[in-house]
């Protein structure tokens, strides 16, 4: 492992994607302000062109400029991340002078950065058609000018959001992780409130902010308790300390508090109450980010806390968390699906479906923990845990394709009027068959119908859970043992719960299809949808990914496996 101090040699190479984002951020602040501004040298009458302020140039006054800068930056970061993908062995740590690890660049963090940058690129690209632009040129009214200026704000927030998320992915220290989490969270609070065209936007942003900051506050309190207990917030130090005195009430309570913070981010029950309001109130691309990238960020937190800090092998007390997590996962997926059955707002429905997916992820994390905590299963050499972790990462990646894709389709409908009623999807098959077909494919992919990406990811998660549950029993059966379901580890029932929940969820996903293909369009909305090739291109990209990753998932699976192993490599 390479160890690099900040700004030492190799630092730029190691953190290239983040630095690209940072450069983009600065460009985004400066470029739209370039103009024919002059500067009077004090004490003279001489004015010097210094390019800041004044009448903007043609290029820099273009309200689309920030969007392009943000998209290009995010895409460049995405490509750079892909190029610098590292396996478990070849990794780089960013350390302080005294040798404490702050960040770690490895396959695991790179894969999550791919998720973040991919989702943000698509959302930023699609938002070009979403934020209203009221004309170009020097003779705009103040209102229009102001409206165009806010373009820059929106995309700056997108970039800070990406920066915060990638810090979370890299962090090896709870405090660094928390900084990244808050940077990303605050950006998303504002992004949610950015939807000013409707009344609900501000309200949703407020709600999301209040509940979110309470959750963060609780998490921070837990963090301080952990510091009190271990004297450090380094993951290594915490994990070592957990082996020694993990059974004490203080660390357990502290862990619980910290998990509240992350539970809110993945919108797991019972911390999910703000999610439907936030998703429904935010503009659709932003809601898509909440449902994919922001959720992946929460999952990182959960994985780090549960698998690295609190998972010493064969610790009795781990099973308390395990049972609790298993029960929470069943409650989350069932609650999400049942609530989605009754909702008539497509965005709320997608929000609840996102809650249900959080439940599936919690089930997967439980299964990883079950392998780690249960002595009887520990013989498998980590293979089973890797399988579940691979499945979880794969799930988070493909979720970007179809979840974000679905939100982008709703985004087009939102620019047409609104997308807050089921009937606003009516007649979409006649108005624009491509979007209807894409939406239908996203829906059945969410439900898990083969051969789409959603099916493969759900299959992988179920397979991983079953593999953990079956464990060594296969060998015993081969040896002639007489074993039934009672002998299988109880996480098998989580797989059954997932399967039954998929069947329940089928109803509301199909209903979207029925409305699009069967119902007539709402009165006054029969015409073609507003144009905009960017968002359609983004939908097309999501569609292709949904189809392609379902049929040919081998390559991506290997990448996910490398990522899963590299997390394992560090926690062994």
């Amino acid at each position: 492992m390479k160890q690099i101090e900040p700004f030492a040699e190799g630092f730029i190479a190691a953190l290239c994607p983040e630095l690209i984002l940072f450069a983009g951020l600065i460009a985004l602040i400066i470029l739209p302000n370039l103009g024919k501004g002059t500067f009077r040298i004090p004490g003279t009458q001489k004015r010097v062109m210094w390019l800041l302020g004044g009448d903007r140039f043609r290029v820099t006054s273009n309200p689309k400029l920030p969007a392009w800068i943000a998209t290009v930056t995010l895409f460049a970061a995405f490509i750079q991340t892909m190029l610098s993908f590292q396996d478990g062995v070849d990794r780089t740590a960013i350390v302080t002078e005294s040798g404490k690890q702050l960040m770690l660049v490895n396959g695991f963090s790179r894969v999550f950065e791919l998720i973040f940058f991919g989702a943000l690129t698509l959302a930023a690209f699609a938002s070009m058609n979403r934020l209203e632009v009221r004309g170009v040129g020097p003779n705009l009214s103040n209102d229009d000018l102001y409206n165009n200026r806010r373009q820059a704000d929106f995309y700056i927030l997108m970039l800070t959001c990406g920066l915060g998320m990638s810090v979370v992915a890299l962090a090896q220290d709870l405090f660094v992780l928390f900084i990244g989490l808050e940077l990303a969270s605050f950006s998303t609070y504002v992004l949610v409130a950015f939807y000013k065209e409707t009344k609900v936007g501000t309200e949703a942003g407020m709600k999301y902010f209040i509940v979110g900051s309470v959750a963060s506050g609780v998490g921070l309190y837990g963090l301080s308790m952990l510091y009190l207990w271990a004297g450090s917030l380094q993951f290594d130090a915490l994990a070592d300390q957990f082996v020694i005195s993990g059974a004490e009430p203080l660390p357990l309570i502290a862990m619980g508090f910290v998990l509240v913070g992350f539970g809110f981010k993945v919108s797991a029950a019972p911390f999910h109450f703000a999610a439907p309001d936030a998703y429904a109130g935010a503009s659709s691309p932003v809601a898509g980010i909440l449902a994919t990238a922001s959720k992946a960020m929460g999952v990182i937190g959960l994985l780090r806390m549960l698998l690295i800090v609190a998972a010493p092998e064969a610790s009795e007390d781990g099973t308390v968390w395990l049972t609790l997590l298993g029960i929470l996962s069943i409650i989350t997926m069932t609650w999400g699906n049942i609530a989605a059955l009754g909702s008539t707002n497509p965005k709320r429905m997608l929000a609840y479906s996102s809650v249900a997916h959080a439940g599936y992820m919690l089930a997967a994390i439980t299964a990883i923990g079950a392998w780690n905590w249960d002595e009887s299963l520990a013989g498998d050499g980590g293979e089973a845990a890797i399988a579940v972790l691979t499945a979880l990462i794969f799930h988070l990646i493909v979720l970007v394709a179809f979840k974000l894709g679905a939100f982008l389709v709703l985004s087009i409908l939102e620019s047409d009027g609104d997308a807050s009623r089921l009937s606003s999807l009516g007649g979409l098959a006649k108005r624009e068959p491509f979007l209807a077909v894409a939406m239908f494919i996203f829906m059945i992919s969410l439900a898990g119908v083969p051969p789409l990406a959603g099916f493969v990811s759900k299959l992988l998660v179920i397979m991983g859970i079953v593999k953990v549950a079956v464990g060594e029993i296969g060998a015993e059966i081969v040896a002639g043992g007489e074993l039934g379901l009672a002998d299988v580890h109880w996480v098998w029932w989580l797989a059954l719960a997932m399967v039954i929940n998929s069947a329940i969820s089928m109803y509301y996903y199909l209903r979207i299809g029925v409305v699009m293909f069967f119902d007539e369009a709402e009165a006054g909305r029969e015409g073609p949808l507003p144009s905009g090739w960017q968002v359609r291109f983004a939908v097309f990209a999501c569609l292709m990914a949904t189809l392609f990753l379902g049929v040919a998932s081998d390559k991506l699976l290997q990448i996910c496996e490398v990522a899963a192993q590299s997390l394992n490599y560090d926690w062994k």
């Binding site: 059945i444 439900a447 397979m463 029993i473 199909l510």
Partner: protein, 542 residues
């Protein structure tokens, strides 16, 4: 041997139909109108090519080979390509006497369906959907990989969902969703069973295992492993586990079949589905359930099958009798035919539950014969709806006087379905009865088990004859047209419908008087299959 299965029979129809659909979806309404003709013709030509390929396979191989030389779990035209290596997933196809008749049936019904519903509205999207359906169905029957099997198993739902949703009757919204959710729920439970089975395999005995999981999805390997371990009193995977997995897999297949009490999706789907959808649904899709039973639970878990024999027999009997009783009470022609399908699927289940080679051969032949007869029944119902805008039995009488073609087709189909000798259905039913007698006399079951089938013979005749009497005959000198058509000229069925009926009738007669064309291979294969399985199970063969 060239791979005549993967591309021409599975991938090509799927891809071609998707390309056609994508092309059509982006066009204007006018373009769609103009394209109906060429697209219909293209779909017909594609499906005829597929029919030629499968028929060629029959003459080249399946019709002439001596099946007694082909052991259990051997496949012809077997091809394996790697697909998702980390999980041990392969694109593996192959045919045996279980799957080949079903594949031929699918390729046979596809052009017939296209011809029978030649004038269906919105043809530019309808015919590609039929083609897609055909590709997915063949995919189910040829796959020798569990993953691939499941993918195609679920893929058949999508075109059928749209066929019902777009071209269906008044309650199509409800019916299509019920159909989808009902069968999806059953299949995900089956999926969990398959995955559990996957991980219970012994990783040391597999050749095709995945790099990440160390297990394999290959069906032949799975069956090999199972039959190696199903020795005497030794149950593969142990008695408890085998029973659990057997039940989980059977849930998926029994719902698809469908067997009472899981049958309620079928009448809704059938009544609302368009004629073409019904023909494929009844003709092939229901058989997926029976096919799956033979391919997986029966092959893998003979002990569990023996253990649950009584339960299966009871479910089969109830389906048989209940389906027939409900038929008596129907006023809707299509609903009656749908329930008669439930009744006939009961015959398949009873054939399986007899645990006799003859009974299994009867089940296989019933799958095939019902696959030819029931599309004809639904074609008749479709013609009824199309020309008289009513499906109520008794809304019109004396059809024979003004629509002799439809009346004759109806009479022929009804007779074939009730099991008239020298028609295909009779062969299967009589074989099932003989197998039942075998079971009673050899295995010592009670004679009362004959009551159900005997009763149903009478009930079937009753509901068919009664409905014929009230539609074809009576009604005075000129017949009695339906209320909405009084005073208008009443047309007979169209030429394309006549043609489709004639083809279906021809094959019904052909397989009635020369059943050995298909029955020989089924019979021999069943014997091999039965011996491969049962010689190790305590019970012993017939």
């Amino acid at each position: 041997m060239n791979d005549w299965i993967s591309i021409p029979l599975v991938a090509f129809p799927l891809i071609a139909s998707m390309v056609l659909l994508a092309f059509v979806a982006n066009g204007t309404e006018r373009m769609r109108q103009r394209l109906v003709g060429p697209i219909r013709m293209a779909c017909l030509v594609f499906s005829l090519i597929m029919l030629v390929i499968t028929t060629g396979m029959f003459f080249q191989f399946f019709g002439s080979v001596s099946w007694m030389n082909i052991a259990f779990n051997d496949y012809e035209y077997q091809f394996t390509y790697s697909w998702i290596e980390s999980l041990g997933i392969h694109w593996a196809v192959g045919l045996d006497a279980l799957s080949f008749p079903m594949v031929w049936l699918t390729t046979f019904l596809l052009p017939v369906t296209i011809i029978a519903t030649w004038n269906e509205k919105s043809g530019a999207t309808y015919f590609p959907l039929l083609l897609m359906m055909g590709g997915a169905l063949i995919g189910v029957f040829v796959s020798l990989d569990l993953f691939m099997f499941y993918v195609f198993w679920e893929l058949t739902l999508i075109p059928m969902f749209f066929l019902i949703l777009k071209w269906g009757g008044k309650d199509r919204k409800y019916a299509s969703q019920k159909f989808f959710i009902y069968t999806f729920t059953a299949s995900v439970i089956m999926l969990l069973g398959l995955i559990t089975l996957y991980f219970l395999q012994d990783p040391n005995t597999l050749n095709y295992s995945g790099t990440m999981t160390g297990r394999s999805f290959s069906i032949p390997e799975l069956i090999d492993n199972a039959s190696d371990n199903n020795l005497g009193d030794n149950w593969y995977l142990g008695a408890k586990m085998q029973k659990i997995l057997f039940v989980m897999l059977m849930i998926g297949f029994l719902v698809k079949l469908p067997a009472v009490p899981f049958h309620t999706w079928l009448p809704d789907a059938h009544v609302q589905a368009p004629t073409g959808g019904s023909m494929l649904l009844a003709g092939v899709m229901l058989k997926m359930g029976a096919y799956g039973m033979f391919r997986l639970p029966i092959s893998l878990f003979p002990h569990a099958l023996y253990h649950f024999q009584l339960a299966l027999m009871i479910i089969g009997m109830v389906s048989l009798v209940w389906g027939a009783i409900v038929c008596l009470g129907q006023t809707n022609l299509k609903k009656m035919v749908a329930y008669s399908s439930v009744s006939h699927m009961g015959v398949i289940l009873i054939g399986i539950a007899t645990m006799q080679p003859m009974g299994w051969a009867a089940a296989l032949f019933m799958m095939f014969a019902h696959g030819i007869i029931s599309p004809m029944l639904f074609a008749v119902c479709g013609a009824f709806k199309h020309h008289y805008h009513s499906m109520e039995i008794g809304a019109m009488r004396g059809m024979a006087r003004h629509s002799p073609w439809l009346a004759t087709s109806m009479m022929f189909g009804w007779m074939a379905s009730l099991g008239l000798p020298l028609l295909a259905g009779f062969v299967a039913e009589i074989m099932m009865l003989i197998a039942l007698w075998h079971m009673i006399s050899i295995d010592g079951w009670s004679i009362w088990w004959m009551v159900g089938p005997a009763l149903v013979l009478a009930l079937t005749a009753a509901y068919y004859l009664w409905s014929m009497q009230r539609t074809i005959f009576e009604g005075g000198e000129h017949g009695q047209p339906p209320a909405n058509m009084v005073g208008k000229p009443i047309p007979d069925i169209s030429d394309s419908e006549k043609f489709a009926m004639l083809i279906l009738a021809f094959f019904t007669i052909l397989f009635g008087i020369m059943p050995w064309i298909g029955l020989d291979m089924m019979d021999d294969w069943t014997k091999q299959f039965f011996e491969g399985l049962i010689k190790f199970v305590g019970k012993g063969g017939a």
